[in-house]
Structures are given as structure tokens and as C-alpha cells.
């Protein structure tokens, strides 16, 4: 089932940051950040609270301007952060299918993603009824179903139980094996073999 979704990636992605800096509210969060990720590679971003980790994912996603330096993004992006962006009144399956539809996929992609995260039973449940951990998995399912080359995961393990973290790690490994790129921000230990360690802030 899951292989179905992997085959949807269209080409090799690439993410290059050269000496990038980011400003928020007139304050420089970080500067001189360089990172090159080719197909199959990953980066694990760590740093203290408020150092700009989430802002980094938003910058790569194109939601915040790069203050200094150059950034080049090849391939499509998928972002999972604290905003669920699923309509509370709809069922999880329908809400995810909306985004999958925008990404050019159908229910199969959604079902495969839900399968991968072991929540296919939640598809008919309204989004507003989901628990914290289930919402996190729903947000990850949207990324899985997107078929995007570059995954930007902001605290993907937050709120996940012990049994779910290996599912997330397996999903990231499958994605990389198929030539995908993962940028993960995490406070919790996350198995991302061979990932470049990016430390932001002191």
C-alpha cells in the first residue's frame, strides 16, 4: 500500500542553504546557516526554545523571507507543524483528501498514509474529536499523502506515544529510501540515521 505513495514523487529534490540568516520582529534569530541536502538525505535541527527552529522550517517552506544568504529549493515541499490545517467539522479522511486532492492525489494516497501511521480507523472520525497524539499523526499523514520530495517536520514526535514514534521513523526512512529529503526539528531523540546535525542558537 505504502509503496503506492512513494512512487508518486516525481523527481529528486534538493535543498541548499548558503549562509542564511533569519529575522523575526526586528531581531536576528540565526545567521550563517549552511546546509545541503540531496536526495535521500536528512537534517535534524536542535536548539533551545526560541532559537528559531520552527521559523527555520517556515523559512524553508517559503513562508518567511530569507534575511541574508541564498536558499534554493528543488522539489515540492510538505510542512507539518503545530497548525493542523484540517477543517474541524469534517471527517479526517475527507479533510486529508482535500489536501491530497490539491496535491494531485486521491483517497488511495490518504489511505496509504493513514495505514502507515496505523490510524486507518480514524478516517471516518470528525477532526474535532481527535486527541493531541491523533492530531499529530493526522498532520503527519497529510505530509505522507502529499508525495512531496521535501518533508519539513516541526516537532513530529510531540504528543506521539511510544508505539507511534517507530512508525514515524519508518515513514521517514521509507521516504528517504525513495529519494526524499527530511528536515526534522525535534526536542526528542529521533532515529534519523546519517542525518546532518544542525544546531541553532547558543
Amino acid at each position: 500500500m505504502f509503496l503506492l505513495y512513494v512512487s508518486q514523487m516525481t523527481g529528486a529534490g534538493q535543498l541548499v542553504l548558503r549562509n542564511c540568516a533569519l529575522d523575526r520582529g526586528g531581531r536576528r534569530l540565526f545567521s550563517g546557516l549552511s546546509l545541503t541536502l540531496d536526495a535521500g538525505e536528512a537534517a535534524l535541527v536542535t536548539g533551545p526554545n526560541g532559537a528559531g527552529k520552527s521559523s527555520l522550517t517556515r523559512m524553508i517552506a517559503g513562508l518567511l523571507p530569507v534575511a541574508e544568504g541564498q536558499m534554493s529549493v528543488k522539489g515540492r515541499l510538505a510542512l507539518s507543524n503545530e497548525s493542523l490545517a484540517l477543517d474541524a467539522s469534517e471527517t479526517l479522511g475527507d479533510a486529508l483528501a482535500y489536501w491530497a486532492g490539491l496535491d494531485g492525489h486521491g483517497f488511495e494516497a490518504v489511505n496509504a498514509a493513514l495505514e502507515m501511521l496505523a490510524i486507518p480507523h480514524l478516517a471516518p472520525v470528525p477532526v474535532r474529536m481527535l486527541s493531541t497524539g491523533q492530531r499529530k499523526r493526522a498532520s503527519l499523514a497529510r505530509v505522507l499523502a502529499s508525495g512531496a520530495e521535501i518533508w519539513l517536520l516541526d516537532e513530529p514526535a510531540n504528543g506521539l506515544d511510544k508505539a507511534s514514534i517507530p512508525l514515524l521513523e519508518a515513514a521517514m526512512a521509507t521516504h528517504r529510501a525513495a529519494g526524499g529529503i527530511v528536515v526534522a526539528v525535534s526536542h526528542q531523540p529521533l532515529a534519523l540515521p546519517g542525518a546532518q546535525a544542525v544546531r541553532i542558537g547558543a
Binding site: 517552506a61 517559503g62 518567511l64 515541499l77 497548525s83 467539522s89 486532492g101 496535491d103
Partner: protein, 214 residues
């Protein structure tokens, strides 16, 4: 389906489930209450009724303002659309089309019983309907514009009203002016101002959405 139409569809679906009847009920209530206020003088009602319905339409357009942009901004929907490379202006245009579709045709239907309540004759009713058809895009656009400017602010609803009502003055003047016989100029000016406002709004709303992210 193109992202634009799938956005329009989603907004229509949300409008349908989220209180589409509210502006209509408000519009009809004004039409019901106005004759109580001024008394049963049919001539006076007929002379002023059209203008009152225009004011009611304007106020009805204000009601859904808080659900146009704010929920999507808060839940990260606008961000997810941007990540997919859909421009903020496209999103704004889709929201404008969806808002107009969810609000104008029902309002024009409701104008028929409302016209009977304020005793305006058939000919004036047709001019009112034509005026609403031309003017509601501007009302929808102004609603969307103030929704994008006030999204995330405390007491956004009241502020939206204060911002939108002065901006709607030209639409109201030309709209109410187009009700009397031989008012070709007013209806042309109504169409022109409506087109101007509706054409400019997606860019202003797009800029407001971008500014919100900073």
C-alpha cells in the same frame, strides 16, 4: 480540478455548514421591522424602502466577516496553501468568488419577499435586483478586505464594521440612487465602483495575508 475551483468549493461547503442563513435572516428581519418603525404609510414605505433594503444588504454583508479569513489563518490553512505554491492572490480571489456565491444569490432571492414587506413596486424591485447583482460583488469584496485586515485582532467584529461601512459609501449611494426611474447614470457608476473594488481586493487581501505571516 484546478486549485482555484477546489478552494471555491471548500469555502462554499464551509459557508453552507457555518451559518449561511444568518445574513439572510438579518436582511429579512430588517424588512419586517422597518414598517413597524415608520408606520403603515404605503407611500412613505415605497419611497424609502429600497434604500433601507440597501442598508440592510450592506449590514448583512458584515455578518460573515469573522469567518472569512480568521479561521483559515489561525488553523494554518493559508500557510499550507502557500507551501503548495498557490499564491495568496489566488486564494483571495477564490475566497471572494465563494463569498459572493454564498451570499449574493440568496440575498437577491430574499429581496423579493423583503420588497413586498416594504411595499416597493415591481419595477423598483427589478431595479433593486439589478443593483444588488451589480453591487454585491463590491460588498463581498469589502467584507473580505476588512476580514483580512482584522484577522487575529481582538474584537475584530466591531472593528470590521467600523472599517467597512465608510468604504461602502459609494456603493450605497449609487445603489440607492439607481432605484428611481431614469437612473441610468447611477447604475453605471454602481457597476464601475463595484468592478473597481472587486478587481483590487484580491491584491490587497493577498498583501494582508502575507503581512500576517511576518
Amino acid at each position: 480540478m484546478s486549485p482555484f475551483w477546489s478552494l471555491v468549493q471548500r469555502d462554499l461547503r464551509l459557508a453552507w455548514s457555518g451559518g449561511l442563513w444568518l445574513p439572510l435572516a438579518f436582511f429579512l428581519l430588517v424588512a419586517v421591522l422597518y414598517p413597524f418603525g415608520v408606520g403603515p404609510d404605503a407611500k412613505l414605505l415605497a419611497r424609502t424602502g429600497g434604500g433601507v433594503l440597501w442598508v440592510a444588504a450592506l449590514l448583512a454583508a458584515l455578518l460573515p466577516v469573522d469567518r472569512l479569513i480568521q479561521p483559515d489563518a489561525e488553523q494554518g490553512v493559508l500557510d499550507q496553501l502557500a507551501v503548495r505554491g498557490i499564491s495568496d492572490e489566488t486564494v483571495a480571489s477564490a475566497k471572494l468568488v465563494a463569498h459572493w456565491l454564498s451570499f449574493a444569490p440568496p440575498l437577491m432571492l430574499a429581496a423579493i419577499p423583503a420588497a413586498a414587506l416594504v411595499r416597493i413596486d415591481g419595477e423598483t424591485l427589478w431595479r433593486l435586483e439589478a443593483g444588488l447583482a451589480l453591487g454585491t460583488p463590491a460588498l463581498a469584496a469589502l467584507g473580505l478586505l476588512v476580514a483580512s485586515l482584522t484577522a487575529g485582532l481582538p474584537r475584530a467584529g466591531a472593528l470590521a464594521g467600523l472599517l467597512m461601512l465608510p468604504l461602502a459609501v459609494p456603493v450605497l449611494i449609487f445603489g440607492a440612487g439607481s432605484l428611481s426611474a431614469g437612473s441610468g447614470a447611477a447604475i453605471k457608476l454602481l457597476a464601475a465602483s463595484s468592478l473597481f473594488i472587486a478587481a483590487l481586493t484580491p491584491f490587497a487581501v493577498g498583501a494582508a495575508i502575507r503581512a500576517m505571516r511576518r
